[in-house]
């Protein structure tokens, strides 16, 4: 089990135990974390799973995948340098303790 921390815009933190292999988007949905919609189910079509990876974790999480850039660019909340689509981040042991921040809006 790998711990993921979602930080809402008001600063409130939700810690959940994630299953390795799941995406950070699916983990949020499975744990009723508000602020992530993931409407396209992880197909990189909707940009409603935007998260801003905490600076401290940016390197470990890694760069955006092919095609992610374009979607993030048009997202409801202006992307920041560490913005990612959470459906494209796979939970794995070295991400234990990962902190991601939720954007103001997904839609």
């Amino acid at each position: 089990m790998t711990k993921i921390v979602y930080v809402a815009t008001d600063g409130s933190r939700t810690e959940v135990e994630a299953r390795d292999g799941d995406s950070v988007m699916r983990t949020a949905l499975a744990n009723d974390v508000e602020g992530i919609v993931g409407e396209c189910g992880g197909s990189m079509m909707c940009a409603t799973c935007h998260v801003i990876v905490d600076e401290a974790w940016a390197e470990k999480v890694g760069p955006r995948s092919d095609g992610e850039e374009d979607l993030l660019d048009g997202a409801a909340t202006e992307p920041r340098p560490t913005s990612r689509l959470s459906c494209q981040i796979t939970v794995r042991p070295e991400l234990d303790g990962l902190v991601v921040h939720l954007p103001e809006a997904q839609m």
Binding site: E39, C40, G41, S43, M45, A47, L71, A76, M107
Partner: protein, 395 residues
């Protein structure tokens, strides 16, 4: 192992007419008794549970959209992205996606759409009873789409006629010649109209879908640019039109909620609940590429399954009193926009135009609108559904 499983039961009683008039009681029974059912009149295996419709949409390798042999091909005179999968689908969709994203709506379209909405709503006669479905829902949906696609000179009438003609052709599973004769005429008209816009879009490089596709670094072929615009015309008018009419009906028949929505400005929630309650696109088809199973039934390769998102949105496992329009339900994980790679490309536009611009403006101008006789409102549609008339009193 699959060999030991039974095929899904076969129904020979449900008719397309019954599904067109009032499908919801039928789906309620199917969810309880036969959530995987081969329906003879439809010629497909109907899936009515939310978990199953989502499973199918999220697994495009097993449940494919790729089917060049549907009436869509002659109707659009093209194998369109709606009926493709994989990288081809992604590249054609992404070619126009930027104009449909929240950023483009905020930066480019928002102010224009507010003006258009003010204009169209401003023309409605106060104190009279009008069929708002005809007077507003269709025309404004057509106007908004014409701009975003980059064909603003197409009239509301043309846009609506092209759209309906394309949809009738795409749904012509009886392969009768007349609907294709009509789509031929519409295709010629659209092609001429698009031809006349090309130079202007190359010069102006605006934010419309047409301009973005033309001016891309590595543009997709012109034939695909045209078929993309046609797909958006065919699939981009009746959904926002029907969603708007459905939401107006919902609010005017649930007067307590209507008051609360106005008080809170809860228009986005009113929108989400409207598309859950009566999903404008009720059903979609997918071709099965490998033998598989759903709920213990054998689903053979080559079968066509039909996901009924109308029913998924009423699944008792996810929604309390699903048959009721209830803006303030705690959670609303509806599938009105689908899921997976074919997730509705117009979802962001619909949410912002209908939910954040048109509804608030409409009810700011007519806060005391009423529906004098809800019983005269007729609902129609199996694949696509909404009211076909909506006589409201504007006050």
């Amino acid at each position: 192992m699959l060999g030991q499983l039974d095929f899904a039961p076969l129904d020979e009683a449900i008719t397309i007419d019954a599904l067109t008039l009032d499908p919801y009681p039928i789906y309620k029974r199917l969810r309880a008794e036969a959530p995987v059912l081969r329906v003879k009149s439809v010629g497909r295996t109907l899936l009515t549970k939310a978990a199953d419709t989502k499973h199918v949409k999220d697994n495009p390798a097993l449940f494919s959209s790729n089917d060049p042999k549907t009436p869509m091909q002659p109707a659009f005179r093209a194998h369109t992205l709606m009926r493709k999968d994989g990288p081809e689908h992604v590249s054609e969709r992404m070619a126009m996606n930027a104009s449909f994203m929240p950023k483009a709506i905020k930066e480019h379209w928002g102010p224009l759409y507010e003006r258009l909405a003010e204009d169209y709503i401003g023309r409605l006669p106060r104190g009279e009873t009008v069929d708002i479905f005809k007077a507003l829902c269709g025309p404004i949906a057509a106007r908004i789409l014409a701009h975003i696609l980059g064909i603003p000179e197409a009239t509301d009438e043309e846009m609506q006629r092209w759209s309906q003609t394309l949809m009738d052709g795409a749904g012509n599973f009886g392969w009768r010649p007349e609907p294709f004769a009509r789509t031929d005429v519409a295709n010629d008209e659209m092609d001429r109209h698009f031809d006349a816009m090309v130079e202007r879009h190359r010069a102006e490089r605006g934010p419309s879908a047409f301009a973005i596709m033309l001016n891309a670094e590595r543009p997709i072929p012109m034939s695909q640019i045209y078929s993309n615009i046609k797909i958006a015309i065919g699939g981009g008018i009746n959904e926002p039109r029907d969603a708007l009419a459905t939401i107006i009906f919902g609010l005017l028949t649930e007067t307590e909620q209507f008051e609360e929505v106005k008080r809170q400005g809860a228009w986005s929630a009113a929108f989400e609940e409207g598309v859950r309650w009566v999903a404008p696109i009720q059903a979609s088809s997918r071709l099965v590429t490998e033998d598989t199973e759903i709920r213990g039934y054998r689903i053979p390769k080559g079968d066509t399954v039909m996901t009924i998102q109308a029913s998924a949105n009423h699944d008792e496992e996810l929604f309390e009193h699903p048959e009721r329009y209830d803006v303030f339900r705690a959670k609303n994980p509806h599938q009105a926009f689908g899921s997976g790679p074919h997730h509705c490309a117009g979802a962001h536009i619909a949410r912002r135009t209908v939910g954040q611009i048109i509804l608030p403006l409409l009810f700011e101008r007519f806060p005391n609108m009423t529906l004098p006789d809800p019983d005269v409102v007729q609902w129609r549609g199996f694949g696509f559904r909404g009211p076909i008339n909506l006589p409201v009193r504007l006050a």
